[in-house]
């Protein structure tokens, strides 16, 4: 790991200024991904601005929803009563991620800003356009069993690793950010981006902007939700495919639905058309199968990840069954 300057401001303004002064500076919160990448030489910031002492860890009711401070720990959010009652999908997604220890360290903001776990991104001896633009995408013709089936480009086929973000994408969250130019809100679905020709950019955050909070609007999904995470061991592994499913049921009829997938694209993959295909229908496996088929339109596989073309729709069906209480 390279040497770097370390500062630990206690005020938000100071933190943003500390970062703005230096192009090669990074905020550090939990550090669970950044330090991992720094140890491997994938990221080499010259300055770390430790934001852990900023007062940004509150979980609170706000007008029309719940605001979760960017520095709220993943475990604190998952265990929070308000979250468990009103956003059980988010609590489930958080508990599906990482380990108890990591959830005690990782913050909400940091979780969203995780980099991909693509093998090629992680190994500085291998090509990766995200790490080193222009070096090529190692995964495209390489080992790509973990990789994207939606929204990829010929520059990058990596997937976003966060579970929490899949739930937030389903729940129409908004990200509150603050930067040198002031505060702004970014719809969660616009927060992460597709790789296109600039896979080095994971998000639409601008240089120097700090994630301050995530706001989740009130919703109709206090129950009938399920976060399904399919992985290669029973816990503590990244998703092959994950599904955040939320249903509002009137008797057996679906009044509203939210669906998003993880492990399939460079960003949390919201499935609005599949949601539309669910509304007004009876909550049956057959309905879920049809919605899953809608969800999979446009999916395309590479050499090693064709299984996702079957696993993803199956997982959608299973998540919806679980949400509807049919399992």
């Amino acid at each position: 790991m390279n040497q770097f300057q370390y500062v630990r401001p206690t005020k938000q303004k100071a933190a943003i200024e500390a970062l703005a002064r230096d192009a090669n500076a990074q905020f550090i919160a939990g550090g669970t991904n950044l330090l991992d990448l720094m140890k491997r030489g994938v990221m080499q910031p010259q300055k770390l601005v430790d934001i852990n002492r900023l007062p940004l860890n509150k979980i609170e009711r706000m007008d029309g929803g719940i605001r979760i401070g960017a520095l709220a720990l993943n475990s604190a959010v998952a265990e929070d009563q308000l979250v468990q009652q009103q956003l059980p999908l988010l609590a489930q997604a958080l508990n599906a991620g990482a380990s108890a220890q990591l959830r005690n360290m990782a913050t909400v903001g940091g979780n969203m800003l995780q980099r991909t776990r693509c093998h090629y991104f992680y190994d500085t001896a291998l090509p990766c356009n995200k790490r080193e633009p222009g070096s090529g995408c190692g995964a495209l013709e390489g080992i790509n069993r973990m990789h994207a089936i939606f929204g990829f480009s010929d520059k990058c086929i990596a997937v976003h690793p966060s579970d929490m973000s899949v739930a937030l994408a389903a729940l129409d969250a908004t990200v509150l950010v603050s930067g040198p130019k002031g505060e702004r809100r970014i719809a969660f679905l616009d927060f992460h981006r597709l790789p296109g020709d600039t896979p080095q950019k994971d998000t639409n955050l601008e240089q120097g902007e700090l994630v301050v909070a995530v706001e989740v609007p009130e919703n109709a999904f206090p129950k009938n939700v399920h976060y399904l995470k399919v992985r290669e061991r029973a816990s503590y592994a990244f998703a092959l495919v994950s599904v955040a499913a939320a249903l509002q049921l009137d008797g057996n009829t679906i009044k509203a639905a939210r669906l998003a997938m993880g492990g399939v694209a460079h960003k949390p993959w919201r499935l609005t058309e599949a949601e539309a295909a669910l509304v007004g229908k009876p909550a049956t496996e057959e309905t879920f199968r049809q919605a899953a088929a809608v969800a999979m339109q446009g999916a395309k596989a590479f050499k090693h990840n064709a299984y996702k073309l079957k696993l993803a729709p199956n997982s959608i069906v299973q998540a919806l069954k679980n949400a509807a209480g049919l399992a």
Partner: protein, 746 residues
Amino acid sequence: MKEQLLQDGKAVGDRMSRVDGRLKVTGAATYSAEYALPNLVHAVLVGSTIAKGRIRSIDTKAAERAPGVLAVITHVNSPKVPGFAAKQNPDEPPTIGQPLRVFYDDKIYFNDQPIAVVVADTLERARYAAGLVKTQYAAEPHQTNFEANKARGFLPTQAKRNPKSPQNDYDRGQKDGYQSAPVKLEAEYVHESEMHNPMELQSIIAHWEAPDRLTVYDKVQAVKGTQRAFAKDWALPEENVKVIATFVGGAFGNGLHNWPHETAAIIAAKVTNRPVKLVLTREQMFTMVGYRPKTWQRVAMGATRDGKLVGITHECIGQTSSYEEFTESSVQQTRMMYAAPNVSTRYRILGLDISTPIWMRGPGEATGAFALESAIDEMAHLLNLDPLEFRLRNHTDTDPEKNKPWSTKYLKECFQAGAERIGWSKRRMQPGTLREGDWLVGYGMGVGTFGANRGVAKVRAVLRADGSVLLQSATTDIGPGTGTAMVQIAADALGLSPDKIRFELGNSTFPTAPSQGGSSTVNTVGSAVLAACTELKQKLQQLGGAAFAGAAPDQLTLAGGQLGLRTNAAAKASLADLRKQNNGQDIEVTTEAKPGDARQKYSMYSFSVHFAEVRVHALTGEVRVTKMVSCADAGTIVNQKTAGSQMIGGAIGGIGMALHEGALMDDRFGRYVTKDLADYHVPVHADAPPVEVFFVNKPDTLVDPIGTKGIGEIAIIGVAPAIANAIFNATGKRVRELPITPDKLI
């Protein structure tokens, strides 16, 4: 001479807690990287980024100038290791060939080969500076793709040279005699390379205490073997090299070879004249310290319609490096496991531009059992026979390979106990028909066997003034609880309470013992403990005079600080008196024990059978092993608790082998892409079901005087096929490629 058998006592068989348990739960157990030597400095290895070729140039200037850096050593400036020149083709175990000579020349044999070591005053500085070393290569085309090179598999040199080598081709009855059977099958089985991945990273502290005196604190399974290897490398008398491995944080076989990083640390210590600590990174654990090699196997099998095996043909190709011939016993169990009149086996190795493999728990046999025991299950299905019944119909009460009686074999008892405990009767003959909600339920079994090996070892036994006994032997303990078992054996041998006995190991200055490997430590070292205790008592008997004359050793006891006789409560000699007779000295013996000629007359194996209950999700293909029962015919069980833990651990290791493990390489670069514990999955708590263990626990005193046969390997051999067979039973899908990940089941 007939060996003294172990007297029935209270200690052996007891569920005694580990003698080193307290050290381990308090963090006080000291592993190899944890010795606080004065002036210690840190070394970090730099690995190559090509798989084959030469180093054209290596720029170390920036690294040398980085703060705190004491030395950057490469092939350009490395001091010559005397043994490297002399050691052309050393034909030594564990491999034939030329072990990698670190920093010897500019040649690259595999990706991430160590090409430089950076030494600095702190770990952080060494690690940073290691990243500053810049290398230019003249790359050559490499071959790492197993399938593309399979045709190049060859008969190992040791087989070519020695017609008696078990690696030779084997035919019993008709070659490929299975072909004449009315019911036949043929199938290919593959598994990827598996990494030992012990939790402790491979580490060493190398310390030249004088220019000709080397001490290493090293994570190895053989302190004497390591001592010999380094003494040879550095042209030193063996006694000038001291190897310490008091605690070893798991190894599973990867400590059975000496590896380049060890010599790199020794070189670094020589250059800097400081004690040097070198700890591999987790990625380097994938490339620098061996692995279970990827293999391809083909099993062809024929049987009569009433379920009698006619023949089995078992072929295997295992990968090795381009510079060493690593071999293992993947096909050998097929020769002796079943009563088939016709058996053919072929074993080949395939040299690729990768690092050298090394035995991993249940080596070879675990690989081979996946193929053989899967094929047995496939044949049972073809015959519409219960696979347990099919195995019983082909059970053999003598070794059909060597035509000798078994020393002991209680496999049928294991079958029965296991079937009851797993609830075998719930198993459906028709696959895919037992369902609980969205989960398909299945049951499977797999048999394991491993040679009940025994080597030669010496133990020193010292009776001290306080009445306690100290035992020492240069064995190691990678986790099974060696010290605990030895104390229990000594307690019964001496008639002394275990808390009065201390067993020390992991130090090359102790009396010689072989490596801890091949499930043979208790057989070998335990026998030497018994022999040393017996000799110690005989010495005391002499010192004790007339009252004890003529008594058999097993009648002598040491309880209560005095020598006693089981047959005569009146005969007593105080320790003080005995010491007086011994000129006031500690009473000490060093005794060797070695196997007798029973090995020529009998065939000696441990046996196991594993039963698995699995659930497979009908939509997602996720597999959960929900229960396991592991049964072992392993002779006397010295400690029910620690032996049980070994069996449980083997079962869970086998779950990893079956469901999770396999390092993936991008052959374009000849470089692994899954090389840490996030990408290379090993089982976690959530993957581990309850494992019920059953031991036959009948002594086999032909193997050794304690009656043990060995546990470590049979704990895992047969587990992977048990799970694969259970998955077939649950789903009707036969997966012949490990690991069985969800993508293979949906």
